[in-house]
């Protein structure tokens, strides 16, 4: 809400030397954030009223130029022509005798443009006749400003006449304070901050002449939605009557364009009082004007030239022919005021905030009017605002007052039972009863004291004050948060992080410690990204929840896999010149539940909020949501350690993707099993299926060449994705300490030749099994394929370590264990010992 200081001064006495900044500080004190203070027209220097005495058209120029003699007052002439200045001007909308605005040499106009005496078109131009735009008063550049005849004398200072130099505050009004979307409401806050009385324009009913004509009748068919409806009828209005400058300039200051006198006046009164109003062309209305719910199928073309389909929940203002406007939201095109309108009907009504809010949302139509009704309008204002509009149209538009109609349903009186000690209890700071009462009265409440609870009646403009805590907020706000002391509350003993939270942190530290860089991607994904992964049409990862209002048509889905975001981030890094990129993300994905549609359901439960919903309702709410398991995924490409003077590079390979998961398992004490797997987007021959306790938790390996080509990624890039929740749930809760054996170790290496199809992991398991408990450790350290061992075979070399817990092993014991392992491998895998 923009508020010119001069307008505020109409209703509250602000110290004469107070700047816009000072006023902003005062409003800040009572809780209104001022986002900016602007000066109207950034003009400095001698700007005066002038009268055009003579106009001479300069001949033989490409465009018409006038050479004018302008009377600027005795104090502003120059030595040669006392009281007169010669000025060259290109505009043509003025005549001899008109009063204009003259910027004398030395005046600085917006854009840091200083006027100087200069020679132009063969004449000495000794100043400038100004247009509204040139002095920063709006966009009108049609011609220069012409002041109303006899409204000023040549030589007068033009600043106050034009409202120049006035300061305009841009105030952030929170949605609970509808009353502050008006000069009246802000003036009240200012008066509280200053501790002075205000003149309330919302309580002054303009005196209108006696009704002298036929007034349109009005009615409300839905007294819940419209409990107060006033309709004024004016006749004999001059549609050509101009809007007075003070209204124009004030509207410009609050950011509203001048349209016509009738419309400008309704806007002016709305900004001043906070009551939205609408002016109809009364000649386009037939019968009684009534507030009623729309009929299904009814249509209305609103002022923004959009034809709107109405629903029965909409509230309209209608006549016998149908809907005229969306109540409190926007007028209809058919009944709009035109330059031929002479009979005007002014609607000033009170609408239910929820009704207007719904309509505004449904039709995606937010107007100055709907914003105010949604936030609550003072119910007492309607007749006062209507009379004020009539008064202005009578005095500036030559209208006659034909009469007034109105209907009203008396509201329930709201009284708050208030314990005056409550503010102290909530704030932890003692407010005296006198202070509490003083503040409540200052904000407009009526207070009836009694021994126990007080009876507090909020003012009509504060429909937001309903329960005691609302009054507490007023006490704290006006007295100031700074007066509240500070205290650190003592929490009960906490248990720290949960096991899962601790493990998740540890997982992140582990991964970053191993050289991976974390990313936090958006959870949005598109079908084309899933296609690029070559997912099968029935892949569950295509069952994604769809957003009703995604930011981009390309990404309307919620991710079911972390890979698309990671791959995009890898591509971005590579395009920016990085070549070795290892990214990981730990985040939740969303997976539709069985039977859940991508569009969610309809008619969700909406538990009441007047008490704790029962458990079955709460379960129904949970059931609305998709599963949101925590995933861990990574994409690795380039060198894990680059080449350099120390040696050659090691590049990320399928092995790194798998070991990244296995090592994480090791860190968290979870045994993860590896088997060959097949799943897009992985290379079918280089994909591991990973499982914990027989449950598949994810996949890792090299991305398929096709996918890499789709994404323009380097060959051999690798990736992994697992359900981290499952890993965390299976993690060791308390690590158990090993027994450190101090007897000497015996080392034995064996190389076994097996067929290619035999999995190394199976041979390893056999060795472990057969070598018995003396075997401390065994690992695969070399693989050989070649003619020496025959086509279709591979040689697997294992390093074995033996140790007993109670003695030094004899060479015979070690040899027996070794032979046992070899024999088992021969038996189970057809392995032969390589000589």
């Amino acid at each position: 809400m923009k508020a010119p200081v001069s307008w505020l001064r109409d209703f509250v006495v602000i110290p004469a030397d107070a700047t816009g900044r000072d006023v902003a500080e005062l409003l800040l004190k009572v809780g209104f954030e001022v986002e900016g203070v602007d000066s109207v027209g950034d003009v400095q220097g001698p700007l005066v009223v002038g009268r055009v005495i003579s106009i001479e058209e300069l001949p033989d120029l490409k465009k018409p130029i006038r050479w004018c003699q302008v009377e600027v007052g005795a104090a502003h002439g120059n030595a040669d022509t006392p009281g007169i200045r010669g000025i060259v001007c290109g505009a043509r909308n003025f005549a001899e005798g008109d009063l204009v605005v003259v910027a004398l040499p030395g005046t600085t106009l917006p854009g840091d443009f200083t006027i100087a005496t200069r020679k132009t078109y063969g004449q000495i131009s000794d100043g400038m006749i100004c247009s509204a735009r040139e002095i920063g008063l709006g966009d009108e550049h049609d011609g220069i400003i012409i002041l109303p005849a006899d409204s000023a004398t040549p030589g007068d200072d033009a600043f106050p006449i034009l409202g120049l130099g006035d300061q305009v505050l841009d105030i952030a009004v929170t949605p609970d304070r509808g009353y502050a979307l008006s000069i009246r409401g802000l003036a009240r806050e200012l008066s509280i901050a200053l501790g002075v009385e205000m003149t309330d324009p919302g309580q002054v009913l303009a005196e209108l002449p006696a009704a002298a004509g036929e007034a349109l009748a009005c009615a409300s068919d839905d007294t819940q939605a419209c409990d107060l409806f006033v309709l004024q009828t004016l006749t004999g209005f001059d549609p050509k009557a101009p809007t007075p400058d003070f209204i124009k300039s004030r509207l410009a200051a609050v950011g509203v364009r001048s349209i016509s006198l009738a419309v400008d006046v309704t806007n002016y009164v709305m900004f001043e009082l906070g009551q939205p109003l609408h002016a109809f062309d009364a000649d386009k209305i037939s019968g009684t004007v009534r507030a009623r719910r729309a009929v299904a199928g009814e249509k209305l073309e609103t002022l923004d030239h959009v034809t709107r389909e109405l629903v029965p929940d909409d509230l309209v203002i209608a006549d016998d022919s149908g809907a005229l406007s969306l109540a409190g939201t926007m007028g209809g095109l058919a009944s709009e005021i035109t330059d031929a309108t002479t009979r005007i009907a002014i609607e000033s009504a009170h609408f239910d905030p929820v009704v207007v809010a719904r309509m505004s949302r449904r039709h995606k139509l937010s107007s100055e009017s709907s914003r105010r009704f949604e936030r609550g309008v003072d119910r007492m204002l309607a007749p006062i605002a209507a009379a004020r509009v009539a008064e202005l149209l009578i005095s500036f538009g030559g209208a006659e007052f034909a009469g007034s109609a109105g209907v009203e349903t008396a509201p329930a009186k709201s009284v708050i039972e208030f314990d005056p000690a409550l503010p102290s209890r909530i704030a932890g700071h003692t407010y005296s009863q006198d202070l509490v009462k003083e503040i409540l009265i200052a904000v407009g409440c009526t207070v009836t004291e009694s021994a126990g609870a007080w009876a507090v009646t909020p003012p009509s403009w504060r429909p937001d004050l309903i329960v005691p805590i609302d009054l507490v907020e007023e006490i704290v706000r006006i007295d100031g948060f700074d007066n509240v002391p500070t205290r650190l509350p003592v929490a009960p003993k906490g248990r720290g992080l949960t096991q899962k939270q601790r493990l998740q942190r540890r997982a992140g530290l582990h991964l970053a410690g191993r050289g991976l860089v974390e990313v936090r991607n958006y959870p949005f994904v598109g079908v084309s990204e899933l296609d690029a992964l070559e997912l099968a049409q029935d892949d569950v990862r295509r069952n994604a929840l769809r957003l009703a209002n995604s930011l981009s048509d390309e990404q309307p889905l919620m991710r079911t896999t972390l890979l698309p975001g990671l791959l995009t981030a890898v591509t971005r890094n590579i395009s920016r010149g990085s070549t070795d990129v290892a990214l990981y993300e730990i985040a939740s994905v969303s997976l539709l539940r069985v039977g859940q549609s991508a569009n969610g359901g309809t008619n969700p439960p909406r538990p009441e909020v007047n008490g704790r919903p029962n458990d079955s309702l709460l379960s129904e709410l949970e059931a609305l949501l998709p599963d949101q398991p925590l995933h861990f995924a990574a994409v690795l490409t380039g060198a894990t350690s680059p080449a350099g003077w120390w040696g050659s590079a090691a590049n990320y390979s399928w092995r790194d993707a798998i070991t990244a998961v296995l090592n994480l398992g090791l860190e968290l004490g979870v045994v993860i099993d590896v088997e060959a797997g097949v799943l897009a987007p992985w290379h079918p021959g280089r994909c591991a299926s990973l499982s914990v306790n027989g449950v598949v938790i994810g996949h890792a390996g090299e991305l398929s060449p096709r996918v890499l080509e789709n994404l323009g990624l380097p060959k051999r890039a690798v990736a992994l994705e697992i359900h981290l929740d499952v890993v965390l749930a299976n993690a060791q809760s308390v690590a158990s300490a090993p027994t450190v054996n101090t007897f000497p170790v015996a080392k034995e290496d064996i190389a076994l030749i097996v067929a290619d199809a035999v999995a190394a992991k199976d041979v390893l398991a056999t060795i472990k099994d057969a070598a018995g408990e003396l075997l401390e450790d065994v690992r695969l350290f070399d693989v050989y394929q070649g003619a020496q061992i025959g086509e279709g075979n591979k040689s697997l070399a294992f390093a074995m370590r033996f140790r007993a817990s109670d003695r030094t092993l004899s060479s015979q014991e070690v040899a027996e264990a070794r032979e046992g392992a070899i024999a088992a491998a021969q038996k189970l895998h057809g392995a032969t010992l390589r000589g």
């Binding site: 949605p175 909530i426 704030a427 992080l497 974390e518 936090r520 959870p523 930011l551 969610g600 609305l624």
Partner: protein, 369 residues
């Protein structure tokens, strides 16, 4: 070389004469001193103590001496050999030290060639600041509460006193998941976790909840449709605004340094009343830049305060919706944007840096902010 020994008189055996032995010893010592490496010394050792060395040859003559002369000649030779061996030992040690020193000099490298070249991992600063903030509150006895990012509208709005037609629902531009009437949204704030905490936990409640939230803003230098908040909630008997202020000040000091305080300005949130905006005292200039153009502060734009978040006393309606008696319990809640906090705390100028996953950005933060 043995000389003829006709008379069996030791005097006649010139090789065993004191002069001759002394000369041999002197020769040996000179040779030892002249050896400049262990290899040279090895040759010297062979020449002067070996089987064919002068002293060894002289020793052989002793056997032919008359018994009366043997003892003296043996003593003479023994002393001479002892002297030579001692010199050899000393010189060996000297040369070994020299060899070791030379080896170290030869093996010298340019240690400045070493640089951190191996890919260095890092965690996202949004992750680590969440942990840092959580730790501040865990230390006070709070627990870390979590909730789903795709959330029921009831938790995100209704239970927080944001009725279906409340202007706040349009104020926060909400992503609707599924149909617009599916009842599920991408949570617009971490506040639904307050509701979940109040419904699930035993009183009193002291929780901190960091998390990802969503609003339909386009990504630019200062906005992102996906961002992060941290929120704290306390419900206990006798909780007041003073407790809220004290907790905020403690939080500010923990994150920004000793003596940094916060300031509250009245505001509006449906789920708290009274509500306030939280300003943080500028931790860079501490207010010294206000009206002082010579000490202008970029962090607070010379205003002395930085807008940090929102807070308030939990609205009794919210307590009621969660089955908590507002006459017995009161509470406070506050929340901050984490991107914003990172931006002013670490001088990040563009929101997009936290979104795009450029490793050059993230690596700068290492394992913790």
């Amino acid at each position: 070389m043995s000389a003829p020994n006709k008379s069996f008189d030791p005097v006649e055996v010139s090789t065993l004469s004191q002069e001759n032995i002394d000369e041999n010893v002197a020769n040996a010592i000179a040779a030892i001193a002249g050896a400049n490496s262990l290899d040279e010394l090895k040759e010297v050792r062979l020449a002067h103590t070996g089987d064919r060395s002068p002293l060894a040859l002289a020793n052989r003559e002793i056997g032919a001496l008359p018994p009366a002369a043997k003892a003296e000649a043996g003593k003479r030779i023994g002393q001479a050999r002892g002297k030579v061996n001692q010199c050899l030992e000393v010189r060996t040690l000297e040369l070994e030290v020299l060899r070791d020193q030379l080896l170290l000099i030869e093996e010298t490298v340019d240690v400045t060639m070493a640089a951190a070249t191996v890919a260095q991992g890092a965690r996202h600063p949004l992750t680590t600041i969440q942990e840092q903030i959580s730790d501040v509150f865990l230390a006070l006895g709070y627990e870390l509460a979590e909730g789903p990012e795709i959330e029921a509208e009831w938790f995100n709005f209704d239970a927080l006193n944001i009725a279906p037609d409340h202007p706040a629902r349009t104020m926060q531009d909400t992503f609707f998941a599924g149909n617009e009437d599916s009842g599920i949204v991408l949570r617009t704030h971490t506040s639904p976790v307050q509701i979940r905490s109040m419904l699930k936990r035993e009183l009193p409640i002291y929780v901190v909840c960091p998390g990802r939230v969503f609003r339909t803003d386009e990504l630019d230098a200062t906005h992102s449709p996906v961002f992060h908040q941290v929120e704290a909630l306390v419900i206990d008997r006798g909780i007041t605004l003073a407790d809220l202020k004290g907790t905020l000040d403690h939080f500010a000091q923990s994150m920004f340094g000793e003596g940094i305080v916060t300031r509250l300005r009245p505001s509006y949130f449906p789920f708290t009343e009274p509500s306030a905006e939280v300003d943080l005292q500028c931790f860079v200039c501490r207010g010294a830049s206000i009206d002082n153009p010579e000490a202008a502060c970029r962090t607070c734009r010379s205003e002395g305060w930085i807008e940090w978040g929102g807070c308030g006393m939990v609205n009794p309606k919210v307590l009621v919706a969660c089955g908590i008696d507002p006459d017995e319990y009161t509470g406070f809640a506050f929340g901050m944007g984490l991107e914003r906090t990172l931006m002013f705390r670490h001088g990040i100028t563009d929101m997009r840096d936290m979104v795009e996953g450029d490793i050059r950005f993230t690596r700068a933060f290492g394992l913790g902010v």
